[in-house]
Amino acid sequence: MHESEVQMESPPRVLITKIGLDGHDRGSRIVAAYLRDAGMEVIYTPPWQTIDAVVGISRQEDIDIIGLSSLATDHLIIPELMTTLTNEGLDAVRVVVGGIIPQNEIQKLLDSGVSKVFGPGTLREEIIDNVKSLALSAQKLKRQKWEEA
């Protein structure tokens, strides 16, 4: 994207992070690299972020999508994140989760507002396509929010 390109599409702004206790972030880093190579702007944080920190970053960075990685049991506090995002007026932000979520616990995440759960073996293209389309809808919601008088 050359800076003199006139109409710049708004590249998706994605926050790649981990909440909870686990620190295995190999998958996060790989997905961050994929998204960058697909032209997106990725804000990358180390693991062990608190829920408040994730919400604060999402606000400051005008994040479209939060990409959480959960391999152990940290997905159990994702519903708490979803509630906090809503309470803080950030419900336009979409949340996707990648990693290993036990089958019988996936629905609870979706019910709490998570847009998509990617299991291990999800192809890169699927991740990219989903993130792109979710980013578009997040951007649209934000635009509506701010541009209505």
Binding site: L21, Y44, E80, P102
Partner: protein, 560 residues
Amino acid sequence: MEEKRKRNQPSDIQSAHEEWQQSYQKQMGKQQVIRNRSGLEVDPLYSPADSNNIFFNERLGFPGQYPFTRGIYPTMHRGRTWSQRQLIGLGTPDDYNERVMKLLDSGTSAISLLPCNSTFRGLDCDEIQEVLLGTCGTIINTIDHMETCLAGVPIEEISTAMNDPLPFTLLAFLLGVARRRGIPWERITGTSNQSDYISHFVANHMFFRLSLTGSRRMLLDHIAFCREKVPNWNPVSVVGQHMQQAGATPAETMGFTLSTAIQYAEDCLVRGMDIDSVLTRFTFFFDISISFFEEVAQFRAGRRIWARIARERLGALDPRSWRFKFHGQTSGVDLTRQQPLNNIARVTTQAIVGILSGLQSMHTDAYDEAISCPTEEAARIAVNTQNILREEAHLCDVIDPLGGSYYIESLTDQMEVEINSVIEKIDAAGGMFKAVESGLVQAMIGESALSFQRQIESGDQKLVGVNCYQLDEDQEVEPAPYRPNPDAVKALAESFKEYKAARSKSTVQRAIDNLARAANSENDNLFEQVVTAAEKGVTHGEIVACLRRELGEGKPIIKA
């Protein structure tokens, strides 16, 4: 390769070889180059031409003889089988005790304790959402918790490995329990399995708590304390596991790990410790991946290189210092969530690799490890895997059975070259500590991880159930993941609060102040203060918080 072949072979073998080559070429036609994970090219066949018999004693030798390529002891598994050291960690201390007693009955000769992720992060059970407690390890925050974990366990006879990083509160609690039982600390054997703070910073796992420089001080104090007071404990375990799990190739993993060992040894020398007293208590901890022959070659090369480093570079005189002792854990990264029962086949393969590599103790993963903490049945299968390999497949009967294989000897030599080049790179960067500070190691690992991922994506590297031989997700019924009993966890959290309230505030405060003072004084042994504080009833979280304040908190060193 061609030149070497022509050089080494007597003429009758030579012509037979050429004949084979022609038939092979004719039938195969155009071939794709096959490389192992470390990037080395793998030929279809190895023969006498590939063997380097000239310097037999120098390069190979016999088990128990420098450079130990074939094994660090003369008898190896035939004399004494590897220790089965299965990790246990789940739920409350009662849950742990129940599991460990069953495991002791089923033939385990050594135990390993895995604390809860909250403990890894330096938090007590009242500092984190309850739903996260005890799901991946045992909640242990006090000396009383440790007492419960080890009720009925003869710690003076059984070797116990503690899997927490510095400041090693678990060992502190263990020593406190030993004192309560009147067991002298000389009888306590085991290892601080995760003492390698450098590896924690490199692979950014859940493990580091203190700053890099603070960790350096803490480890040295730990080594010094154990040498004197707990002489049969291994305070240093240099860990290759995290780096390989993060994506380092086997050659990189061994290279980085040996470089770390050099760094720690040199730090000890600077402290004035005698090199032999330090190295004799070094052990190593590696992941065993499913890349079969490459792993065996990695460990054989590792033994050879370490012997040379210990003797020539570090100047150790005691032959025990030259021995590369290692514990292997079958790699969880190779396991899949899809079709989990396949993991039994994977773990079996990895376990065979470990045994053929000549490890001293091993943990085999359970097949459901990718999804959750293992069920009892899965844990039992994991142990029996080792039993079957030993008793039925007779893998203990012959020492270094792959030795002499044209392939293995050739690959061992090649891996040695690769590993040495990694060590050279680290040396050029000023040693492992500096290399990690600068992010060099992390960058190298990240590249390897991405490269491997691309191979999986492209289908070059096939993973059964993932990118080939897949099943419809709906067809599979997944076992429900382990979750600790929420009532038991709640009860533990309650009793913990009561425990804290019941302590003498002044005693606790004094112990914490002493700890803080020791952290700011170069003359105090910090680990000694941790042990004292633990005995006085200070909790794990309180100890870690104090040290974080005084020594600085560990922060990931990420170059994105």
